[in-house]
Amino acid sequence: MPDLGIDVLLKGSNMLRLLQGLWVAMKISLVSIGISIPLGLIVGTLMTTRFKSLKVIFRIYLETIRILPQLVLLFLVYFGSTRALGWNLSGEMASIIVFTLWGTAEMGDLVRSALVSIPKHQYESSEALGFTKGQMYYYIIIPQTIRRLLPLSINLITRMIKTTSLILMIGVVEMLKVAQQIIEANRMTSPNAAFGVFLVVFILYFIVCWPFSTLATHLEKKWR
């Protein structure tokens, strides 16, 4: 068996550093998702109201965020906004801003489509049965919406964790960057480290994302 360089990770604190890199990426995605979910709920609900102008504004926001690659958004905030507004932004902060903007747009759209997908007769029947507005939402509409929303939001978390791999391009030291550093540092002693280390990175991403997406699929099937 050829030397695949996985042993590099067992030297010193290399594995620990790699996991710390993963934690940086996780932290950024968890903070962003934590802010995006409440904001997305508000945006999504507002998009189903009757205010035309509000709908148009959110639609434009959503489409602009969606049409551009996340990496372009990261560049716009990290290089563009600092230049235009003259402020100082760390890579982490820029990523949190971008992922929150993006997450809010995606979450808002999920909430909107979940609310729209509740058939009209659900509202009408609950009114006919004498429910008050509050009761109608509490007992009828919100439980149904959550069933449709939850699997999709969990998927959004996976997408967010995967997308955090991009932040290495704006200089945040996350797992892929740490992997590069480890490979560079051990170039002489272990020239094949690139294979082993990137393989481990690949597997670590899988280990983090897989439970989420399996849970989402499971819930989707269960609540269909």
Partner: protein
């Protein structure tokens, strides 16, 4: 905004955009092919192959493209498989896209009513004819929205190619920012070119979607 600068570096961006589109379309074409094959395997529940496809779909959906590309570009040469950056880009995009396309086709295939297949069989069509003339056309028309969303998603994913030193739009923009500090102009061109690539796909996509919405049986 320095228009002279923009005029000077426009051709560079154009070249980069062409590269993005070419690698993107080849990768997406392969992704569609892989997706179709995988969906067929899953739909017909081919023994053994079914498990391999399931494993592949899970693996490719739960890892970021950047990690896949690094593994291909930096890791594979160490076990004797040398791929140049372009090939890595195509392979990475096909690997990632294949699973997404497979999911889109599979859900389309599963949405086709069983009665369609049964009626076609009772009319004396062979299994192959049933697939070709009845099930596939309906399944594809059902999966078109997911399919277009995937194409846009994959086009957007091409932005990470710059990390394996492909001279794409991101690479050009980052280069120019580093060289001349013309941040505003470089980013402006970057956004314009991405819009030029993705907006038409999105517009054509929604037109096609509207036309195909009633293609399914019974609507």
């Amino acid at each position: 905004m320095n228009w002279e600068f923009i005029e000077k570096y426009l051709p560079m961006y154009r070249e980069a955009a062409v590269l993005t589109v070419v690698i993107g379309s080849i990768g997406i074409a392969f992704a569609i092919l892989i997706g179709l094959i995988c969906a067929m395997v899953l739909y017909h529940k081919v023994p053994v192959a079914k498990h391999i496809v399931n494993g592949y779909v899970e693996l490719s959906r739960n890892t970021p493209l950047l990690a896949q590309l690094f593994f291909l570009y930096y890791g594979f040469p160490k076990i004797g498989i040398n791929l140049n950056a372009e090939l890595c880009g195509v392979a990475g995009l096909a690997f990632l896209g294949g699973s997404y396309m497979s999911e889109a086709f599979r859900s389309g295939l599963e949405a086709v009513d069983k009665i369609q297949e049964e009626s076609a069989l009772s009319l004396g069509m062979t299994k192959y004819q049933v697939m070709k003339y009845v099930v596939l056309p309906e399944a594809i028309s059902i999966s078109i929205p997911a399919f277009i969303a995937n194409i846009i998603f994959l086009l957007k994913e091409t932005s990470v190619f710059s990390a394996i030193s492909l001279m794409d739009l991101m690479f050009t923009a980052k280069d120019l920012i580093g060289l001349y500090y013309k941040t505003t102009e470089s980013l402006f061109l970057l956004v314009i070119f991405y819009l030029l690539i993705i907006l038409p796909v999105s517009v054509i996509g929604s037109l096609v979607e509207r036309r195909l919405r009633y293609a399914g049986f019974g609507n």
